[in-house]
């Protein structure tokens, strides 16, 4: 009897796990850090993604956009932005080597911050 109950629980868990997977992609954000809105240094050096008629920035695990004079964020990740995020890290501009006045790189840095 106990075995049957155990099997039923395990089977149920497997089904739930599969359902969860299907719901998660392109909808809920991945688990992780959710910070404040993007700081000025990030906005000034990062290329936005234009979606829904506004510039959006992937920062700290969420998509942020300007809403009038304030920052807003999408509660769940729109599939269009999810697709864009899967294409690669945001383009960022590296104006100078940080922490050292010399060694001007003037290049770009990728990578999600």
């Amino acid at each position: 009897m106990l075995r049957k109950i155990g099997c039923a629980i395990a089977l149920g868990a497997a089904i739930v796990a599969c359902m969860g997977c299907g719901v998660e992609v392109g909808a809920d954000y991945p688990a992780g850090y959710y910070g404040d809105y993007p700081p000025d240094g990030y906005i000034a050096t990062t290329e936005p993604v234009y979606f829904g008629g506004r510039a959006s920035y992937w920062y700290g695990g969420r998509w942020y956009y300007r809403d009038g004079g304030r920052w807003g964020h999408y509660g769940t990740e729109p599939s269009g932005l999810y697709q864009r995020r899967m294409q690669g890290a945001p383009v960022r501009r590296m104006y100078e080597s940080p922490g050292r006045s010399a060694g001007h790189s003037g290049g770009r840095s990728g990578g999600r911050r």
Binding site: A10, G60, Y95
Partner: protein
């Protein structure tokens, strides 16, 4: 048999349960790094931008606009037009940039020699300021063309970026004295770069605290008001840069203050540094003088 079936189910459950972390985790490509690595306050790109804003003031708000184009994100159809406008803006800022280069070269020479020609420095600051006062008027057509080329969301994004540059510029050029002691300021950066001792830092801070007599006062509220005017106008359907009548004054004010403040900073530092530190700092100033990140190619996406 029941036991066998149960084992199979349990194994299958284990494998399937791993799905969300592997299969769904296909979406884990986008899993963000832990908080410490997300650059909540200042990451390398931000630090690099601050370093840039400490030594490059020549175009004022127009420079912020030109820099904002670097990461605005334009379509392939827009790219040629935007690149031309960016090049035009750079050309309009050219005279101010050249004078700023000359000033920094004067400062570097004085630093290396251990003797600053203050009359020459003051004249250099005045020349930069005068040149900056003409940047906006010279850029009116380019700014109007830029407004025509961009979509409304791009215009709004550009305004956001310009305002962000202004915020970073203020942090980078914050006063080196006071309670906060400008953690992101010039002295904080050079303390590490030049290996300044605590005694040297204290002497420099005391010198800076005495207050420059020749540095014009900067009114951040006025600059902010000018940026607000620009932003409101640029977001609109109709835009005429010529109508921004206070922009030239704002540029001259910001650029003049930045140039004078840099000169004063170097003059205070010079007698406190060792010969090696002076040579090191002078070399770095020369590199800043010739540095032009806007001349770099645009548009590549990093892996």
């Amino acid at each position: 048999m029941a036991s066998m079936v149960c084992r199979v189910v349990i194994v299958a459950t284990t494998l399937l349960s791993a799905g969300p972390t592997t299969g769904c985790g296909g979406s884990s490509l986008g899993t963000p790094p832990p908080a410490a690595a997300t650059g909540v306050v200042q990451d390398d790109a931000t630090m690099g931008l601050m370093e840039h804003h400490r030594y490059h003031h020549h175009g004022g708000v127009t420079l912020f606009i030109a820099m904002s184009l670097d990461t605005l994100g334009v379509s392939p159809e827009q790219r040629a037009a935007v690149e031309k406008i960016r090049a035009d803006l750079q050309a309009r800022m050219g005279p101010a940039r050249e004078r700023e280069q000359s000033l920094v070269a004067i400062l570097a020479d004085g630093l290396a020699a251990g003797s600053m020609d203050t009359a020459k420095v003051d004249a250099g600051v005045a020349l930069v300021t005068a040149a900056a006062a003409g940047v906006h008027d010279a850029s009116v057509d380019s700014l109007n063309e830029l407004h025509n080329v961009l979509t409304p969301p791009q215009r709004a994004a550009l305004v956001d970026k310009v305002e962000s540059h202004w915020a970073v510029w203020q942090d980078a050029n914050a006063e080196e004295t006071g309670a906060a002691k400008a953690a992101g300021g010039r002295l904080a950066a050079l303390t590490t770069d030049l290996g300044l001792t605590v005694d040297q830092v204290n002497k420099i801070r005391a010198g800076l605290g005495a207050g420059p007599t020749s540095v014009p006062r900067l009114d951040p509220q006025k600059i902010a008001a000018d940026l607000q005017s620009f932003g409101d106008a640029f977001r609109g359907e109709k835009f005429d840069a010529k109508a921004l009548t206070t922009a030239s004054g704002a540029d001259a004010s910001m650029v003049g203050w930045g140039a004078a403040r840099l000169a004063y900073f170097v003059e205070i530092l010079s007698p406190v540094l060792t010969a090696d530190q002076r040579a090191n700092f002078a070399e770095r100033l020369r590199e800043h003088a010739t540095h032009d990140p806007s001349a770099q190619s645009q548009g590549e996406r990093n892996p």
